[in-house]
Subunit: 431 residues, 2 copies
């Protein structure tokens, strides 16, 4: 299977950008045509998953609206510029010639090195990319669009909860590919439900160029123990909102509410709310009833509980582990802190390098937060839910990297490529 | 030690670019002042290493000229633009506003997303970087300059052959750092010679953000088995020159000679020469005596041996493993192939994704080679020895990545950083 993927990838990489885009559109068309079958398969998965948590069921469920959004995301990927097109200037060359005066480095530009060699950079696919994901069946199609765009082969290993949906989606993808005469092995599904199948992918040195694990602590522990091939973790999102003393209260309420409740089962949802002590009383008094009405369970620190309870909001006492937990549910940990430094310290200790937002009207506090928080996306006066490939303009995403190697944050097609250097000479040797 | 490194790294990252450059120049000054001590320490290492191969001894040996070149490389790093400065536009935002007409994306630019959030990217250090290297003691100082430049802490683990030299160099670095009041823990040397010390670095999850192993197959096998932290391999260089039927013979001779003999002990030196059968007779007849006179041992295929021997060159029959060997010595494997497709096939099977060069006057053949060879640097009519941080304009290099994750080819300061996304809003939430 992996050998077939590699072989198919070589063929894909030789196609023009236009041909790769045509394949992506054929996949979107096939998903459109097969919508009824995909929804029926998804119904099976949902029925089998009745015992799952509401958040997991939400991730698992496909609807006509979600399939339309998926189709639109795939077509948006086809419309993006080709990540493999052209050659780029590699940046300033020390001791070499700058580009001609009055021009800027741009596509197809090149630089001249000290010996007179002309240097440029060309993007190439990574090769065979495996993705290990859990219950979200639409991941298969989004990832297929991005790997087709970037000239990579894709091996999918979805969670057993989404098995029927994943099969139906991959069948549609195969249909689309065969319509444009492309080797179906560029997108394959591992159907073996055994944990050993994941271990095999993680150990397939020379056959798999990258594994992207998307999931919780169990999957990441397996990756820690077994990975021998390069890995980019789509780790958990312990995302923070910090409401500063100088926050606009109405804005802070909207952002906190949206970040926690708009889709609680996903990784960029808010998990821990930090509130400056100076604003805790008015802010929490207004927040408690608003989140309470939406069914959010609050796990509050000793300083926030009395405020919330005076406002008529029932809440539980927070345990220390609540501040290290990705709830993926309508649960929110609340902590009152003494100003920005304490908030920064808490996020440095408990954050998962995913997403953090500050709400404040004080530009100095905002810039310090944006500068010092070590997360793939730091926001000022905006919801954590906006750290998303679509909202940031990538069209779709392979996952959100929470480590800094290769990619940090949402990964689009470009993050599935790397640059090789192309040198053109006229006989230059090393002096 | 690693905790001290992390703490010191936070302080370094808060410094301005000018302050980091000042520290780098202080290191160069200290290396200059302590040149006699460093050379004396190096003499010890060289005396102790009398039994090493000539190539290893060459890598180990420091001379006043090499120390001057090192100092110049370090000052060049200080003179480079700050990799952490400014904010960049993240590229086209789908559904968002393009930058104002007539402008191009540049530093300090930003883009507007669909909800009106303003998105930019800011480069951040990776954190604590460990480098495991073998006999080249100057690696310590080059890497220190690059990690200081990029706001990272450095943990050095040099080979025992270079122990005295490494200590003397790191002592000079510490001197320079203390002169500008910087925590010396930003550059530390692991002096424990045990293999377990390397294993500890490879398993220091949460303490080490990246390990760069530079070395041979033994070190890479250890990395395969033990690494739990992110790794960028500076693997071996099985570099190729392909002399095409349409090559300029004099140029092909110069490039082959330079690539093999200019410094045979380093990773971008030529190891396997591929010669098109159509040009084998005249090219090899001229090459044999020229390399023979320089003491190069030729390991020739069945088709090249008779030609070389007719030209009066003694050579050995190549064994299959010669084409998979990084000799790092005055040994060259020679193979006659039937044209470009056979050369591409051989490189795909035996190359180590490091460097490959084609010598030809045929632009079509050149472009096909540049496009299809999967190596960090592909060259046309130039020596493989030019795949080097200095020659490509990086000033110095942390190593040459032979895998495509994060970096591919020589790594400068920029490759030791990653981008985080900075989002500025006015209360935007996810619709």
């Amino acid at each position: 299977m992996l050998l077939a993927a590699r072989e198919a990838q070589r063929g894909l990489a030789r196609l023009s950008g236009a041909d790769r885009d045509q394949a992506i559109r054929a996949v979107a068309d096939a998903l459109h045509r097969r919508q009824a079958e995909i929804l029926a398969a998804n119904d099976e998965d949902v029925a089998r998953g009745a015992a799952l948590s509401p958040a997991l069921l939400d991730r698992l469920r496909l609807t006509p609206a979600r399939l339309s959004a998926l189709e639109a995301a795939i077509r948006a990927v086809a419309a993006q510029p080709d990540p493999l097109a052209g050659e780029e200037a590699p940046g300033p060359v020390i001791g070499g010639m700058n580009p001609p005066a009055g021009t800027t480095a741009s596509l197809h530009a090149s630089w001249t090195g000290p010996t007179g060699i002309v240097i440029s950079e060309r993007r190439v696919p990574l090769g065979v990319i495996a993705i290990v994901y859990e219950a979200r069946p639409n991941v298969a199609a989004e990832c297929a669009a991005l790997t087709l765009k970037s000239g990579n082969a894709l091996v999918l290993r979805g969670g057993k909860e989404a098995q029927a949906s994943s099969r139906a989606i991959v069948q549609a993808i195969a249909d689309g590919l065969s319509e444009v005469g492309l080797d179906q092995a560029v997108v394959q599904l591992v159907t073996d439900p055994a944990r050993e199948a994941v271990v095999e992918l993680l150990r397939a040195t020379g056959l798999v160029d990258l594994v992207i694990p998307r999931g919780g602590a169990g999957l990441m522990a397996l990756v820690d123990a077994e990975a021998r091939v390069p890995v980019i973790r789509h780790g958990q999102g312990i995302c923070h909102v910090y409401v500063d003393a100088q926050a606009d209260l109405a804005m802070a309420l909207d952002i906190t509410d949206n970040a926690k409740t708009q889709r609680p089962g996903v990784c960029n949802a808010l998990e821990t709310l930090l509130v400056d002590a100076a604003i805790a009383e008015p802010f929490l008094s207004a927040l408690g009833p608003r989140l309470g009405a939406k069914g959010v369970e609050l796990r509050a620190c000793e300083r926030s509980r009395p405020v919330l309870e005076r406002a008529g909001t029932t809440c539980r006492a927070a345990h220390p582990e609540d501040y290290d937990t990705e709830f993926l549910a309508l649960i929110l940990a609340v902590l009152v802190v003494d100003g920005l430094p304490a908030a920064l310290e808490h996020i440095a200790r408990h954050g998962s390098h995913h997403t953090a937002s500050i709400v404040t009207q004080d530009p100095k506090a905002a810039e310090r937060f944006l500068s010092e928080v070590d997360a793939s996306c730091v926001l000022h006066n905006a919801s954590t839910r906006l750290n998303d490939g679509g909202e940031l303009g990538l069209g779709a995403e392979m996952g959100i990297s929470t480590s800094k190697l290769h990619a940090y944050g949402p990964m689009g097609a470009k993050e599935l490529t790397q640059k090789k250097r192309v040198v053109r000479g006229t006989g230059q040797i090393r002096p």
